[in-house]
Symmetry: C2
Subunit: 194 residues, 2 copies
């Protein structure tokens, strides 16, 4: 393995964009038709606009073999119907924990096991969140500004988005009269994910 130089990186989308050539994900609403609960709201928005829901930049193109991958996510504020903007969410296909460090904004992390057990963890600056192997994870922006966080995971864990697309999460996070509310997803059928 060759010696790679140490470096410093601002925890800002602009800095990660400048890394260039790495994995860059831009999810518009049209990419997430199967993920928001209110299908009519999705189609209503799409008649006039296709907003960017979130972006992700991976901070490493080729592994140095050193065992830490990292990336920055920005979820833009907003709702689709009453549901807050969020990431698709995924299971890891191999054993692999993940650490999130919240940079700015405010949100909720939704988690679930393949047996359909759900959890919710608050995301605020000055905190990390530990996501152990076996928990699918989806991040929801419940604030008025962008939610930005760093994630760090072992290389090669693999990502299963299909199970989440098919079954969803047990929880929805929706805009209530007094702010964000976590409600049970009406369409979720727990324990079917095998």
């Amino acid at each position: 393995m060759s010696i790679v130089s140490p470096f410093r990186l601002a925890l800002e989308p602009e800095a990660f964009q400048l890394l260039g050539g790495c994995t860059e994900i831009l999810r518009r609403l049209s990419d997430m038709r199967d993920f928001f609960a209110d299908e009519q709201a999705v189609e209503r928005v799409l008649t006039s606009d296709d907003p960017v829901i979130y972006e992700f930049w991976k901070g490493e193109c080729e592994s140095s073999g050193g065992g830490v991958s990292y990336g920055l996510t920005r979820i833009h504020p907003g709702t689709v119907g009453r549901e807050y903007h969020m990431t698709k969410g995924h299971f890891h296909t191999k054993d692999g924990d993940e650490i999130y460090v919240v940079v700015e904004g405010r949100g909720l992390l939704l988690l679930q096991t393949r047996e359909g057990e759900g959890r919710t963890v608050e995301m605020t600056p000055g905190h990390m969140v530990y996501v152990p192997t076996g928990w699918a994870h989806r991040t929801v922006n419940t604030g008025d500004a962008a939610l930005i966080f760093l994630s760090i995971w072992p290389p090669g864990v693999g990502h299963d988005y299909g199970t989440v697309a098919r079954y969803g999460f047990p929880q929805l996070v929706v805009q209530g009269a007094d702010g964000p509310m976590v409600v049970r997803s009406p369409s979720f059928q727990g324990g079917l994910m095998g």
Copy 2:
């Protein structure tokens, strides 16, 4: 592997202390006699006091097998002679990169290869620093308040403190008239570390 629950953790010493039972390191000046350059200054301080230079809390006792270890370091402000408080510094004994996320304070990360090549990277909040395999790393607090940072690395990398104790780093960080200065260490003999 059993299912471990997800959790949220404040990036503060008090929160890591409450984890309890994990690796906790407390380095006083008397533990670091071989690491500061000005031996007379070390002995002078030790006649009346044995100050805590830095503390470290590992945030995981037993590995969940998921491949990410993490810990929080606090370096107290101050100098020994003209040299700023710092960590011992170490090489990893196996391939393993490390990511630092600066929580508060201000400092410098010193790095060196086994061939004696040195680097310096600034540490300030809102930034991460990537430390690739092969670079010994020592963190120096150049500010007036505590320097606190999160570090994340793959489990089992191993730590070699002995090489640094014997050879030091190519650079010293000392208090100058206009603030911190990086100077060449008079005792460092590069390229001898094999």
